[in-house]
């Protein structure tokens, strides 16, 4: 039995296109994997990585066709097998951990039953034995109270729990190869890091080989020894992870690494111009040439083949005519910018003791009060914030921390239960419908999901004209002119005005959303996770745009995000939230360096860094926290530095660490200062 477990050989997959043509989703993909090794497959949306992941199980989505090549598991081509033979391979020798466990688990079956099913099929267990083994597997994936969980239905579990169940289900057959398709998408950073730990453990125990598909470079760096970078359906570079990160041989790999925001760099990442080609419109030569800084005529005429490059660790291939030049070009990350601390700038928005509770109105609440059920905990509680004119204040926290709620309250979309909220002399507690038009114009909101924030039935021009109409009452000709101007400033051509959102890419849609906000010429722009749904290279372009607009127009940003690396790149000051309460506030260098609030520290530690094979130090426990509405500190229960029952009983006092830096914690500041720095090597200058 050779060491080679998996060999993908010139795999090409496509589907029939219009007029009898064939649209390629995967072209000429070749990979190898040894027993027990780990391989990462990284690429952005549309590169074909999901199709590849499924193909590794001999599966093609409906409509897909195998055009060429083979996927060999221990020498057997999976695509040559019949249905019965495939059933023997899937789940038993190769298992998939799907991207979205909530969709992939059958809603009508209990979780334990679904795992037992795999055990029955692949291990020959039956009835009670299978059920007991299922509970055992759930314990192995570190789920507390596994017997109880086994009896639950998928929708009764949290995202992290569902994902662990999916992993348990994949392990049931005792596979030699685990394929994971973006398994931590949509999970909180801390949950993600726990799952990555779990995968480490599993690899050690079962000696299974691992293929990890993701768009997240940081995660890939933690998990895989070797890496394959995909672009437009092709593998463009394939080699050891450390070497790829240190000296990439392909311009796309370079671009990808440069566009990823890093915790250690308080600077804007560098964007890749343009966008990937549509599957049915691939250029004749190299697919990346239109966007490549190294491209010449040869690149546009001749598609490069995957060739071996010289490298300390072999094998290492790259699909580029000029890989030698690329390897030699210096690869330095952008220099950190200094942070402007605007302590003297006047306050623009003042928030005092803000409290927001959901479900106060309507029949639901009447019914609840009538039946005596407890009220839901407040989404935001006791928050004091000042947003200074001209700064970028970031609100950071995981989902459920209340950060979006605060933004909506400021925008007048969420009723406030208690506290003060002012912009100048305007009271922001009034709902948007009842605010004076000036106030509505001054505060603008940009949303997370570019698909949902533009009306699919309106043209870009119509979308942009509306605020011009409402806030400035401009006549039609004038509006058209302004729209063209706006589009130009967003680096979209004026011809975009006639397009519909469905014809735009994610990044382009987000630019239109930004244009819509800036059409009103606001003073305060609330950015609610505006780059979270975008690919890494597109993210960088949008961040650049936001920075430029700020410099040109002097607006103030409230930047909401769960991504600490992105926040590091763009924020002046940072406020950290957990369970609806403020944990820590300060300038970016203050918050990213010690002293830390224990939650801030655990958050920072959980962010996968782009240093391959590095592992975060301390981490929060996997137990649930007290959460929103708790009597004491909301982080109690999960805090690694909990000092006793006082944490659960009493709300923590606000400690002043000097210069506007504050931390809410029972632990005295001197002890917090002792902690080692988490945001690492290249420290930004204060």
């Amino acid at each position: 039995m050779s060491d080679l477990l998996l060999s993908v050989d010139k795999l090409s997959v496509g589907y029939p296109g219009p007029g009898g043509s064939v649209v390629h989703v995967l072209s000429d993909v070749s990979l190898t994997l040894e027993r027990g090794a780990s391989l990462g497959i990284v690429g952005e949306s549309g590169c074909g990585k999901s199709t590849l992941a499924l193909a590794l199980l001999g599966f093609l989505r409906p409509g897909g066709r195998l055009l060429d090549g083979a996927v060999r598991l221990d020498g057997t081509d999976l695509f040559a097998l019949g249905p019965a033979e495939l059933q023997a391979v899937r789940g038993r020798r190769v298992a998939l951990v799907p991207q979205s466990a909530s969709q992939a688990l059958t809603p009508s079956l209990r979780v334990g039953q679904q795992i037992a099913e795999s055990l029955e099929l692949h291990q020959g267990l039956a009835g009670n034995d299978a059920e007991a083994a299922a509970v055992d597997l759930l314990a192995q994936v570190r789920l507390p109270k596994p017997a109880e969980i086994a009896r639950r239905y998928p929708h009764q579990l949290s995202g992290g729990q569902q994902q662990r169940v999916a992993i348990a289900m994949a392990l049931a057959g005792g596979p030699e190869l685990l394929v994971l398709d973006e398994p931590t998408t949509g999970l909180d950073v801390t949950t993600q890091s726990h799952i990555l730990d779990l995968l480490d453990e599993i690899r050690e125990r079962t000696r299974a080989a691992l293929i990890y598909v993701s768009h997240d470079l940081g995660v890939i760096a933690q998990v895989s020894e070797r890496l394959a970078v995909m672009y437009a359906g092709e593998v463009v570079e394939h080699g050891p992870t450390t070497e790829l990160f240190a000296r990439p041989r392909h311009p796309y790999t370079r671009g990808l690494l440069a566009s990823a925001p890093r915790l250690s760099h308080a600077a804007l990442p560098v964007a890749l111009p343009g966008r990937p080609p549509a599957p049915d419109a691939r250029p004749a030569g190299c697919a990346f040439a239109p966007r490549c800084a190294f491209a010449d005529e040869r690149c546009t005429a001749e598609a490069p083949a995957l060739v071996a490059v010289d490298s300390p660790t072999l094998p290492h291939d790259a699909r580029c005519h000029h890989w030698l030049r690329v390897a030699e070009a210096s690869f330095a990350l952008p220099v950190s910018l200094g942070v402007r601390v605007r302590r003297e700038a006047p306050a623009l928005v003042d928030v005092q003791g803000l409290e927001v509770r959901y479900g106060q109105l309507g029949l639901e609440s009447l019914w609840r009060r009538a039946s005596g059920a407890p009220a839901p905990p407040p989404a935001v509680q006791g928050v004091h914030l000042t947003i200074r004119r001209g700064e970028t204040l970031a609100l950071v926290g995981e989902s459920g921390s209340g950060k979006s709620t605060i933004a909506r309250a400021i925008a007048g979309l969420q009723p406030v239960t208690a506290g003060e909220l002012r912009l100048g002399e305007h009271d922001l507690r009034r709902p948007s419908g009842r605010r004076p038009v000036e106030l509505r114009r001054t505060v603008q909101l940009i949303f997370q999901n570019p698909d949902a924030s533009l009306n699919p039935r309106q043209t870009v021009g119509q979308i942009l004209e509306r605020p011009l109409q409402i806030f400035f009452g401009l006549p039609r000709l004038e509006r058209r002119r302004r729209v063209a101007e706006l589009l130009d400033q967003m680096r979209l051509g004026a011809h975009y005005a006639e397009r519909f959102p469905g014809q735009l890419s994610g990044g382009e849609k987000q630019r239109v959303a930004i244009a819509r906000a800036f059409a009103a010429e606001p003073e305060l722009v609330l950015c609610d996770e505006v780059v979270s749904a975008l690919d890494v290279s597109v993210q960088a372009a949008v961040l650049e745009l936001l920075a430029r607009l700020k410099a040109e127009r002097g607006v103030t940003y409230l930047f909401i995000s769960h991504d600490l690396a992105v926040v590091r790149a763009i924020a002046d000051r940072v406020a950290v939230l957990f369970g609806g309460r403020l944990c820590e506030v300060g300038t970016a260098p203050q918050v990213y360096g010690p002293p830390y609030h224990p939650y801030t520290k655990s958050l920072l530690a959980a962010v996968p860094d782009l240093t391959p094979n590095s592992r975060p130090a301390t981490r929060a426990a996997e137990t649930p926290a007290a959460g929103a509405g708790a009597k004491g500190c909301p982080f109690a229960g999960r805090c690694p530095r909990q000092i006793g029952s006082i944490c659960a009983e009493q709300p923590p006092p606000w400690r002043d660490a000097g210069d506007g830096h504050g931390i809410a914690c029972h632990i005295p500041l001197e002890e917090l200062r002792d902690a080692a720095s988490v945001a690492l090597p290249v420290a930004a200058s204060a």
Binding site: A271, P273, S432, A452, S453, N455, I463, R466, S505
Partner: protein, 298 residues
């Protein structure tokens, strides 16, 4: 540092109008085109029928009762000696007119109301939906019959009864469709701009539920046609001697064995028109990417 010009991808050069891409999707399936052709044919015939009928539809010919099809009478004659062909040609006019008007009113009123309720939400929505549910709880034909009892069977009454009967269903469908869009951020953006409920409903929601409403129109029209024929069959719809397919079937079915043509011809007329409406509804639904098979003939 680097420029961030987003070069327009080659695939997105000319912007095809929404209508054109819809038409292209629609004509993809031959069944859709058959349906459309049938529908247009029926409408055209109904329009020009008075000009092309060979015989008077009400002329009684005592000496020509129940004649089989011949050159003079392509569909034969009925029990009163009237030319079946002429009666069939004209028989759809009233039913079609009632159907189209009722369907259009239903969809317009129901669509706007449903979308508005979806946006307003809260107590207003809850109360309105209770009332809508109550109307829906009265089975279609039953409600029609109850109203006809109360108000007699003039054509206006029938239209009123139809609209009352079918609009609640449209409201439910429009509301469900609009609810998909209400939580979307572009609606929130409109709300943040301080726009009024009416503006938001018309500008943001209505264009998005239009395709659903189009399908509803075709679907409801098919059900309404069946209902109108049913009413005529029972004697509560079109009044004799005006020709009507349902009425014709009712009048002549006792003689089905002896003279099938006088009954079968209007049967085929009804069936072909309803099939056409169903095919068109299906085609529109598929072209717009919707799933049509959720409703019943209520």
């Amino acid at each position: 540092m680097t420029t961030t010009t987003a070069a327009p991808s080659a695939a997105v050069t000319a912007a095809p109008s929404a209508l054109r891409s819809f038409w292209r999707a629609y004509r993809h399936a031959p069944a859709n085109l058959v349906g459309l052709a049938l529908l247009v044919g029926h409408l055209a015939l109904a329009l020009v029928a008075p000009l092309i009928v060979p015989h008077s539809p009400t002329a009684l010919n005592a000496d020509q009762l129940l004649q089989p099809p011949s050159v003079a009478h392509p569909f034969g004659t009925d029990r009163f000696g009237r030319d079946v062909f002429s009666r069939v040609l004209l028989g759809g006019r009233v039913a079609l007119a009632i159907t189209l008007v009722s369907a259009a009113l239903s969809v317009l009123i129901g669509g706007l109301f449903g979308a508005a309720m979806a946006y307003l939400g809260g107590v207003v929505d809850e109360l309105a939906m209770r009332f809508v549910d109550a109307l829906l709880a009265i089975p279609g034909l039953l409600l029609l019959l109850v109203i006809v009892t109360a108000l007699g069977s003039g054509y206006t009454v029938i239209v009123l009864a139809m609209v009352l009967s079918y609009t609640p269903g449209v409201i439910r469908v429009a509301r469900a469709a609009a609810l998909e869009y209400v939580p979307r951020d572009f609606v929130t953006a409109a709300r943040a701009r301080g726009e009024h409920a009416f503006d938001v409903t018309i500008r943001e929601l209505w264009p998005n539920v239009l395709d659903v409403l189009l399908v509803e129109f075709a679907m409801r029209a098919s059900w309404m046609l069946l209902a109108v024929s049913g009413l005529s069959f029972l004697g509560f719809g079109v009044n004799p001697p005006t020709p009507d397919w349902g009425l014709m079937i009712s009048e002549n079915r006792a003689l089905l064995a002896l003279a099938p043509w006088s009954t079968v011809a209007p049967m085929i007329a009804i069936a072909s028109l309803v099939v056409a409406l169903n095919l068109v509804a299906d085609g529109v639904a598929k072209a717009a990417g919707l799933d049509r098979s959720r409703g019943g003939p209520v």
